[in-house]
């Protein structure tokens, strides 16, 4: 095979592997963003954090939130809930950053497989 093509195909193969790994990392990040509370399931997004923070700033101590399955869930202690969802968000985002940085420094299929 022409060496020019051979080198390009090696890169092509590497890019497919890299893109797939990035996709799987993002899926794992979404999974790690889920916070379970009082039988409900909440995907922690910036909007949820901001909304809870706004309620808290208005001196609300409890509230009702609609979870991922459209079920209303009573939040009995808003301050604790807010602390926990921020913790979930920070941990998931940190793990995503660490995994992503590991991935991008690996320049071959073999090294990606050895992470």
């Amino acid at each position: 095979m022409d060496t020019r093509l051979e080198k390009a195909l090696d890169i092509s193969n590497y890019m497919v592997t890299l893109n797939n790994q990035k996709r799987l990392l993002k899926e794992k990040y979404k999974e790690n963003l889920v916070h379970y509370y009082n039988g409900g399931q909440f995907t922690v997004k910036q909007e949820l954090i901001s909304f809870c923070q706004s309620l808290s700033a208005l001196s609300q101590t409890e509230t009702i939130l609609i979870d991922d399955n459209d079920i209303p869930v009573e939040i009995e202690n808003l301050t604790d809930f807010l602390t926990n969802i921020i913790d979930t968000y920070v941990q998931a985002s940190n793990a995503f950053l660490v995994d992503y940085n590991k991935l991008k420094t690996n320049r071959s299929v073999e090294s990606i497989m050895d992470i």
Partner: protein, 280 residues
């Protein structure tokens, strides 16, 4: 309330599902710390007495639920065998489970985190996945979205959670009825395969329980379900880290390397799974 996991295992002369069940049970203990009951057609006390301590209870499968079929099993893109498989209805899980709250799992489901513990905290009495993520770059497999192009949503009977409630008894009895009248439901729900599939029976039963429409009878299982098909090859399972080759679409015999960690994975290639278990 008693809690536990139920596994089904029926050897077919080539694939050793008891070995898979032992491996699966070890991971259930590691990640969920729950008791495991094995339902099998094998005389495990005689043949596999050295694995008996891995299971909290072993139940011999009633003859009635042994439903043998033939199926083509792939081992990667280029190799396959036609083998017998016993896909006796999972509906028996309700009758046979010794627990009030049960997770039923296929033995080729490799746990790598504890997300399923949330089932026991949730309000839902019946949870099951209706979507899953393939580990490969081509994620457009319609086979696992609907039971046929013109039919209803697909649900995975690979893993589900149920509580012992009167409503769930009706549901599991309905699955038995669907199994007994499978050809009728095949015509009504317009799918081509005459082979009994638990996934299809569950999908139909959920559709009926929801009043013949999309509804909320079944909630989604916690966490994400990842899967690899039998044309993908599992290379290594090292604690929470799994290395695989996934088949490239429309490129016979070509694969993409995949490294996945801390995610629960359904490995459909039984041959490569068994090789990985042997290498532990």
């Amino acid at each position: 309330m008693t809690k536990g996991v139920v596994l089904f295992a029926s050897n077919n002369g080539v694939t050793n599902y008891i070995k898979q069940a032992k491996f699966c049970a070890d991971r259930i203990k590691q990640y969920l710390n729950l008791p495991v009951t094995l339902i099998t057609n094998q005389d495990i006390e005689k043949k596999y007495d050295y694995w008996m301590n891995r299971f909290d209870k072993v139940i011999r499968m009633p003859k009635l639920m042994q439903n043998q079929n033939q199926k083509r099993y792939f081992d990667g893109d280029l190799s396959n065998k036609i083998l017998l498989f016993n896909n006796g209805s999972r509906a028996w899980a309700y009758k046979l489970s010794p627990y009030d709250e049960t997770i039923v799992m296929d033995t080729d489901y490799i746990l790598s985190n504890d997300s399923f513990l949330q089932c026991f905290e949730g309000a839902s009495d019946f949870s099951i996945y209706n979507n899953a993520t393939h580990i490969g770059i081509h994620d457009g497999t319609t086979e696992f979205q609907r039971i046929s192009d013109t039919s209803i949503d697909f649900y995975w009977a690979t893993i589900f959670f149920f509580r012992r409630t009167p409503l769930n008894k009706i549901f599991f009895d309905l699955i038995k009825h669907i199994e007994e009248n499978y050809m009728h439901y095949r015509n009504v729900y317009q799918f081509s395969t005459p082979l009994f599939r638990n996934d299809f029976a569950f999908s139909i039963a959920i559709h009926i329980m929801n009043g013949y429409q999309t509804g909320e009878f079944a909630n989604k299982m916690p966490g994400k379900k990842y899967y690899s098909i039998d044309k993908d090859i599992c290379l290594e399972i090292n604690n929470g880290n799994i290395k695989l080759l996934t088949q490239k679409e429309n490129r016979l015999g070509e694969y993409t390397a995949v490294n996945i960690s801390d995610c629960n994975l359904h490995i459909m290639n039984k041959f490569s799974l068994e090789r990985c278990i042997d290498n532990q």
